[in-house]
């Protein structure tokens, strides 16, 4: 085995999420209403008794951590193929030094107007570069991993996309992964 710390497999306590803030939008309810004529999107639900969240303690200080960025806002390089349609399980690797002007956005599930004006709304590569430049983090671990959420098959995310992204993160030897949905 390598020297990579193992994840905890023993049962340990988890925190039951607190009640949602009163003004939080109820998206599950809203999407059911909005797409009432289509097959319902089945949000993933894990029972904490049988499926509590995995857990790896954060051991390194932030200043000595190389951070991997993963984002599901459909951001891609102008030179890369855009995301295609629902259930697109592909990913794009975006070099850490990429300027926002080189980025494009293709997504069906959220209002992309602001993300097109400034991908930093959902793809904070420039913000991470600034934090690395001032020493708040040790650096960006590797190319940002960008994909498109809204995949209707949780099974295919679990069996195909997630392990592929996991392997890319492991290859980057990241100390912390920062995940940004859209």
């Amino acid at each position: 085995m390598g020297e990579r710390p193992r994840c905890y497999t023993v049962r340990m306590a988890w925190k039951e999420p607190s009640a949602a803030p009163p003004d939080a939008v109820r998206y599950i309810e809203r999407t059911r209403e909005l797409y009432a004529t289509q097959a319902p999107y089945r949000w993933v639900h894990h029972d904490p008794e049988t499926d509590p969240p995995p857990w790896t303690p954060i051991r390194r200080s932030l200043a000595s951590s190389r951070v991997a960025l993963l984002a599901s806002g459909g951001v891609h390089l102008a030179s890369q193929e855009p995301f295609h349609f629902r259930n697109d399980l592909s990913q794009r690797e975006i070099p850490p030094d990429t300027e926002n002007a080189q980025l494009r956005v293709a997504h069906f599930g959220y209002d992309v107007r602001d993300a097109r004006r400034d991908p930093g709304c959902v793809f904070p590569l420039a913000a991470l570069r600034a934090l690395a430049a001032e020493g708040a983090i040790a650096g960006i671990a590797g190319p940002a991993l960008s994909f498109m959420g809204g995949i209707y098959s949780a099974r295919r995310v679990r069996d195909e996309l997630a392990p592929r992204l996991r392997d890319l993160v492991l290859r980057q030897r990241a100390d912390l992964a920062f995940l940004v949905p859209a």
Binding site: W14, K15, E16, P17, S18, P21, A24, V25, R26, Y27, I28, Y35, W43, V44, P48, D51, P53, P54, W55, T56, I58, V67, L70, G73, G74, H84, F85, D88, A106, F108, Y110, D111, V112, R113, D114, A115, R116, D118, G120, C121, V122, A127, A130, I137, G149, V157, R158, L161, A162, P163, R166, V169, L170, D175, L176, A177, F178, L179, P181, A182
Partner: protein, 108 residues
């Protein structure tokens, strides 16, 4: 996104996930989540506001080590654009459906 966070965390790399949809995040239960009260598509801030985006990302990364397993914590960022009052009531309704509601991505 929660499935991906869980898969990476299970492989020994700690994760921290942004969220602007408390109910979706609470259902999937990622290891660590930070909630910002923003419309979807703005989980790391406002367009054209790099200092604000840096502040948000910094706050998220600094909060991460203090979270316990499965916690969702409100980070304290709220959407207060002057023309956006009442955005919560319109989000994801027929009045303001996502631009690609036909299932085809909006490209650009």
């Amino acid at each position: 996104m929660g499935l991906i966070a869980r898969c990476i965390e299970a492989a020994g790399v700690p994760t921290v996930s942004m969220s602007s949809a408390w109910d979706i995040t609470a259902a999937v239960r990622p290891p660590r989540s930070l909630y910002v009260h923003h419309p979807l598509g703005h989980q790391t801030g406002r367009p054209g506001d790099l200092p604000g985006q840096i502040a948000l990302v910094r706050a998220a990364l600094e909060a991460a080590p203090g979270l316990v397993r499965g916690e969702i914590r409100a980070l304290g960022f709220r959407w207060d654009a002057p023309d956006a009052a009442g955005w919560e009531a319109r989000a994801y309704t027929s009045e303001e459906a996502p631009t690609g509601a036909d299932g085809k991505p909006v490209r650009g």
